[in-house]
Symmetry: C2
DNA sequence: TATCCCATGTAACGAGTTACATGATTCT
DNA sequence: AGAATCATGTAACTCGTTACATGGGATA
């Protein structure tokens, strides 16, 4: 699996890493949380859980509360913790910055509980670097091609540009915030 | 098809609407344009073209240049033009704003050549309205739940918020720009 | 003539969607 | 007791991915 786990697989792995959860718990998170644009459909969640279990990254924690409802919760195994950490530690690639910022943000969201601040900062720096490169590419393309675009085409492209700039601004703020948090912690 | 055409189907339809294009043309657009995060894989493009042809939205324009390379270009049919316009005219739904802003931007990018400025402005207004509602929801969720999030979880959420705010700011600017363009046109 | 690139295709596979199925438990 | 809902699961289907196949025109 290690090489071919889905985004959903990793999302579930990370959520189970926060606390033991059942398929239903996970579905509720996706259904009630405005965050993550994952599907809460059972046809997606349960097969994904099965994959994780088959790979040995999660295992059922048999809480069979006397008289309670059926509930098949899972928790991380040793291998699961390692896989999760490995995933979170993956360096930021150019391709991800261009095609999968959501995936990067997903990883970032879960880093706090598993990585050291130093590693998280490195991630943010890599992210900023990638975003800047991508922005430069887009700006160059835009100045070269905008003349050939329709009004709305041009505007749509500008939407992408301003989104990217906002993302960069956010990432810089995030880096500062992490640094501040670290200083605070080391002084206490 | 009308009800179950893919995003890719519509993207190809819209691109063919700009000018007759072959599968290879379309693949090159996806491969060389930093825009649209569509795949240039033949396994995606050619089947999609086939679907469009079967539905009767596009038809081959047999340019068989004497001695030139093989090239199977397509152009829109009457039904294809209608389908494209219908798609572009779809009102902005809540669900799209939440789960598929990219799809909305895709539609917007192609509106210029097919809809009247008035319709485009209506779209933008609906978009802004949807974005504002969504932002309000997210902010409420955030103020309620941010205490329970990790540092990076909180930051990741804030990334979403600032992205949304940037999107709103862009949409407002776009609305103004369209209005200005219209005024200019009516005076000339 | 040999090789490279243009251009279209196909076959196997996997993941996610939709819709349905199945029990058990809580609520009225 | 009957209805609603909790909770897990499965089957059919479609799209997109990856990798391979083909065949002709350009280029050396």
């Amino acid at each position: 699996m290690a090489a071919r786990a889905t985004r959903l697989d990793y999302a579930l792995l990370a959520l189970i890493g926060q606390a033991p959860r059942s398929g239903y718990d996970l579905r509720k998170i996706f259904a009630l949380t405005p965050l993550a644009h994952f599907s809460d459909s059972p046809g997606a969640v349960y097969p994904s859980l099965r994959r994780l279990e088959r790979t040995g990254w999660v295992e059922p924690v048999s809480t069979r509360p006397e008289g309670g409802r059926r509930r098949e919760a899972f928790r991380l195994t040793q291998a699961g913790r390692r896989a999760l950490r490995d995933w979170l530690r993956q360096p930021v690639t150019r391709d991800e910055v261009v095609h999968d910022t959501d995936g990067l943000l997903l990883r970032f969201a879960f880093m706090g509980e598993w990585l050291e601040t130093r590693e998280i900062q490195a991630f943010v720096e890599g992210f900023v670097r990638g975003l800047r490169l991508h922005l430069a590419d887009l700006e160059q393309f835009f100045s070269r091609e905008s003349g050939r675009m329709s009004v709305t085409g041009r505007l749509a492209f500008e939407s992408g540009l301003s989104g990217l700039r906002a993302q960069i601004a956010w990432a810089r703020r995030a880096g500062l915030r992490l640094r501040a948090a670290e200083r605070e912690r080391s002084q206490s």
